[in-house]
Amino acid sequence: MVGESSMSDVAFLLLVFFIVSTTFPEIGLTLILPSKSGEVKEVARQNVMQIVTARTGAYFVGTEEIPTQLMELKGRVKERLTENERLIISLESHPDAPYGRMIDALDEVMLGYNELQEAGVARDRRISLKMLDVE
């Protein structure tokens, strides 16, 4: 006969074991960096969509002087990707720009790709990260 109290001891032991050993999967935004040894490719200007993260964390698309809100980025990315299947999205950041703001923009770009894919417009993820040359 197994006692009631030793049963709950075992249950607690198992509970503690699983609480301690459980780890949650890490999630992240994955990219492939360009190889250092690879040749530099010339890309036509109309195939590049620049998204600049300024020092303040504001976003500028291309050479526009009016900042774009984070919420608008995804729509604009999707629009450009739909018209041009060879589009490269170049995320360019000021050296002092907060990292989190660049990631926010990258997230919107990734979401744009995902939503297009769900809508049946498959595009290769052509994303490039760059630091602005300000010195």
């Binding site: 780890t23 999967p25 890490e26 999630i27 992240g28 935004l29 994955t30 990219l31 492939i32 960096l33 360009p34 190889s35 250092k36 993260t53 950041s93 000021h94 050296p95 002092d96 720009a97 907060p98 990292y99 989190g100 660049m102 990631i103 926010d104 990258l106 997230d107 990734m110 979401l111 995902n114 990260l129 630091m131």
Partner: protein, 118 residues
């Protein structure tokens, strides 16, 4: 007997002082498009707000990144470098680290984020 045991437990609970952990305080950015990263392929680079860089729990300088990652790549060529960078870190530091990764030919990177709304 159980009374004595409890007395001892209470005594130790009250007198215990926890060892203070000296970890990095990193607030990860949040994302909606984040995907799971296969755990067995990850090497971590941590960068905090004050630009301290750690590779798998070791504090390193920028110059140490290339040899350390090269050694790790030799063990596991499919390695994914996961950036655990503070939300408020300067982009400059991340960029410098990525340049070193390119030298080590470690081209698969992931920017670890917290899921949105947690």
């Amino acid at each position: 007997m159980a009374d004595i045991a409890f007395l001892l437990i209470v005594f130790f609970m009250v007198t215990t002082i926890f060892k203070l952990e000296q970890g990095l305080a990193i607030t990860l950015p949040r994302s909606e498009a984040g995907e799971k990263i296969p755990r067995e392929k990850i090497a971590h680079i941590w960068i905090d707000e004050r630009s301290t860089i750690l590779i798998d729990d070791l504090v390193v300088g920028l110059g140490d990144i290339e040899p350390m990652i090269t050694a790790k790549m030799r063990e596991n060529p499919a390695l994914i470098i996961s950036f655990n960078t503070d939300d408020a870190a300067q982009y400059r530091v991340v960029n410098q680290a990525m340049e070193r990764l390119k030298l080590a030919n470690a081209l698969r990177v992931s920017f670890t984020t917290m899921p949105e709304g947690q």
